[in-house]
């Protein structure tokens, strides 16, 4: 039991949450991160889906890593990921239909999310299943974390609510406050991620070369 939660494994799990964050530092998986964050709810659902898929695809590839011929490994990885994404997409359609309509093609695009291929290539191909699982979950959560920040900022400033609950009191609107419609536009997602990177790098200065 001690071996399962050793120091190295803890580092494998925690590093992607902050200093080795997939979006901010490894620059992976940006495409889908921006498109689904105009509200908090789809951002959370997307983050969780990616976490589940990275975790399990890492385990599967790690289990069969010794039998995969090197030349066709990319195609095999893609097929494993595509099968998992199909399952998740069906589960979303069954249990969270409204969100899955909002996410539209971006659920399918998890297949080409660079986080998945990046982790499979860089970690799962040379580590055991349990470490790979931790690495996958860690990277998924690191990704979800950024999505939640961006989603929360955009929903709060763009429509004055969080998860659909109005947070800005009516008296403020009566006194001339108005929602920033710009925040719901795609362009602002990019600028907010830029600012998040700015803050993150200022806080982790010593890490940078």
């Amino acid at each position: 039991m001690n071996k399962l939660f050793s120091k190295e494994n803890k580092a494998v799990f925690l590093a992607p949450l902050n200093i080795d964050n997939p979006i901010l530092v490894q620059i992976l998986g940006i495409c889908s991160a921006l498109a689904v964050t105009s509200q908090l709810e789809p951002a959370i659902v997307m983050g969780l889906s990616v976490t589940v898929i990275t975790g399990f695809s890492n385990v599967i590839i790690s289990l069969i890593r010794k039998t995969i011929p090197n030349r066709i490994r990319i195609i095999i990885q893609l097929v494993v990921v595509a099968a998992l994404v199909t399952i998740v997409s069906m589960l979303l359609k069954a249990f969270a239909y409204d969100v899955s309509v909002q996410l539209s093609v971006y659920v399918g695009l998890i297949i080409t999310n660079c986080i998945l291929m990046g982790r499979l290539e860089a970690f799962a191909m040379m580590n055991g299943p349990w470490e790979s699982f931790l690495d996958g979950i860690g990277n998924g959560l690191g990704y979800a974390f950024i999505l939640v920040i961006v989603g929360a900022v955009r929903e709060l400033l763009g429509s004055g609510s969080l998860l659909g609950f109005k947070l800005i009191p009516d008296s403020l609107y009566a006194n001339g406050y108005s929602d920033n419609g710009m925040m719901t536009m795609p362009a602002m997602a990019l600028i907010i991620v830029g600012c998040v990177i700015w803050v993150h790098r200022s806080l982790n200065k010593e890490e940078k070369k």
Binding site: L24, I27, L28, G29, I30, C31, S32, L34, A35, I74, I75, L78, V79, V81, A82, A83, V85, T86, S89, M90, S104, V105, G108, L109, I111, T112, N113, C114, M117, M185, P186, A187, M188, A189, L190, I191, V193, G194, C195, I197, W198, V199, R201, S202, K205
Partner: protein, 208 residues
């Protein structure tokens, strides 16, 4: 014909892959900082789109859909089949280009394998799948027929090329500006893309 032109213009400017749906940025951000490589990548993406989107269109309408050759709704297999087609075509294109045009291969060579996991290709295929059900009479985004699929692929590819070259050009100039230290590199690139996306928002509502 009118519909095709409208679809073409829309897919370049209004539904621009990068500025409207952020697709295919990862490979760009990771790879290039100059106009020449950006152009090479753009041409390679357009090329692969032109082959894969029509093939996936035929796959979707003739094989997977309920009135295809199996008479059963197999669309739940579409993710796996689409990505397999993309990965296969990328390999095939790489081999053909290497055999028949070494100069083109030298220019595109390094980018081709990257394209298999470029979100723009898969994204265009999934958008195409969504748009098959739309009514061409009411929506200029609808894709009805193989011709429309080719036009859409060309428009999406050229739009991507345009965006990526423009961004690379801005980034080249960025080397001479005094950007705050923590914002250098990735941070400022994001903000630049955001500002350009705002400019492209002016095209929304454009119709012919």
């Amino acid at each position: 014909m009118e519909h095709a032109i409208s679809l073409f213009i829309r897919s370049i400017f209004v539904d621009n892959m990068i500025f409207a749906s952020f697709l295919g940025m990862c490979s760009y951000l990771a790879v290039s900082k100059n106009v020449k490589t950006a152009f090479g990548l753009g041409v390679a993406v357009t090329f692969v789109l032109l082959i894969t989107v029509p093939i996936n269109y035929l796959l979707q309408t003739k094989v997977l859909s309920a009135d295809g050759i199996f008479h059963t709704d197999l669309t739940y297999l579409s993710f796996i089949l689409f990505i397999a087609v993309i990965a296969g075509i990328v390999q095939l294109v790489e081999m053909v280009v290497e055999r028949f045009s070494p100069s083109l291969y030298a220019a595109l060579g390094i980018f081709l394998p990257l394209i298999a996991v470029n979100c723009a290709i898969m994204g265009a295929c999934l958008f195409m799948q969504q748009r098959i059900d739309m009514d061409p009479a009411t929506s200029s985004q609808a894709i009805s027929g193989i011709g429309d699929a080719v036009v859409y692929a060309l428009g999406a590819g050229l739009g991507w090329l345009l965006a990526i070259v423009a961004l690379a050009a801005v980034n080249e100039k960025m080397a001479y500006t005094n950007v705050p230290k923590p914002l250098q590199g990735l941070g400022i690139t994001f903000i630049t893309v955001g500002l350009m996306a705002m400019a492209f928002m002016c095209f929304s509502g454009l119709s012919i």
